[in-house]
Subunit: 209 residues, 2 copies
């Protein structure tokens, strides 16, 4: 026989239940716990306890711990890229390489000043996962990073046999450098990498050929 608790305390407001209340509570709680203890040392029981929902509810929305991690990463990355792209549009930057470097620099500086996100990445992600999500974002129609790059290369008649490859490699290069330098803080601070990083990117884009 079941013996459920008679009644939980009533919520503060009568209809604060918007449609995805529990889903968002789970996401926010998981982000908090993952950032604090790392995904490895956070159990699903932990998450549901802190979110104030039953364990079964977790499995209504996510397959396992790693699926909620995917959601969190996609959400965080999207916001960051979107913000950087919007900022670049406000500036009036002539050259494509300068524009790409502006975006990259924006993201790097944002990360440097956001220890919470850094900590989340550090405690939970390895570059492979990060990189995978970034690849998905690149093809995202709404974000349009890939499309922007391909269009600009054509428009400017830049001599680049494989723009997709080039953009992908730039992202990989930046991602791995940022990851190693900012997230793991090894072997050197990001400022040391910037000159050679941006010079390399200019070479890869090769706008003056």
């Amino acid at each position: 026989m079941y013996s459920h608790k008679v009644k939980k305390d009533m919520p503060l407001s009568k209809v604060e239940n918007n449609k995805n209340e529990k889903l968002n509570k789970l996401l926010d709680t998981a982000f908090q716990l993952f950032t604090d203890k790392g995904i490895q040392h956070t159990s699903i029981q932990d998450i549901v306890n802190n979110a104030g929902v039953a364990k079964g509810t977790f499995y209504l929305y996510f397959k396992d711990k790693y699926e909620i991690q995917d959601h969190l990463l996609a959400r965080t990355s999207y916001r960051l890229f979107h913000q950087a792209l919007k900022a670049s549009e406000k500036e009036n930057i002539e050259r494509l390489d300068d524009k790409i470097i502006f975006i990259i620099n924006y993201i790097i500086d944002f990360l440097v000043h956001n220890p919470i996100i850094i900590n989340f990445i550090k405690k939970n992600l390895s570059l492979g996962l990060y990189s995978e999500k970034i690849s998905i974002l690149m093809d995202d129609k709404e974000l349009g990073l890939n499309e922007l790059f391909l269009t600009e290369v054509k428009k400017r008649n830049i001599n680049m046999p494989n723009p997709e490859v080039t953009l992908f490699m730039i992202i990989e290069l930046v991602g791995s450098t940022v990851f190693s330098s900012i997230v793991k803080k090894e072997p050197l601070p990001i400022q040391e990498y910037k000159p050679i990083l941006y010079k390399t990117i200019k070479t890869m884009i090769n706008e003056d050929s």
Copy 2:
């Protein structure tokens, strides 16, 4: 009260017990299982059952599943780098950039023809872990990759403000590209990346300045 089995079947040969027999059996079995099912779906019970040792024995040698993974990765990577370095010594390559590219090309081609290692990496590792181990190998005195690079840069009077940074970024660039292309097979085959990859490396080393 305990009731241990009276006696296990005797081993085939009388003294096949070399000192690290069980350790090696654990490593080999774990490699097999990790390659087959992935570390996520392999339990320690699985490993010890297949290795034919007791569970307690596992904890004599490793802290947890992830420590055995570290050992396996270090072992595999070391062999690969060592082999590539030795091969490069046999060739008589004049320029430093050509030498570095030879080593990289050797490793890439080796990986392309070794589906077992690729599968192990694919099922178990993300680039971050891989990259971390590679960093450790770079500083490894016995392997001497870092030392070799720094020495050569000095000897040839190459204008490079931060050789450590440059080498590190080259490794990161190659690692992430290889990982994405060979391991995850996205978005394009490695041959597409090689020209731009090697051109970029030449720019970074910048031997003709």
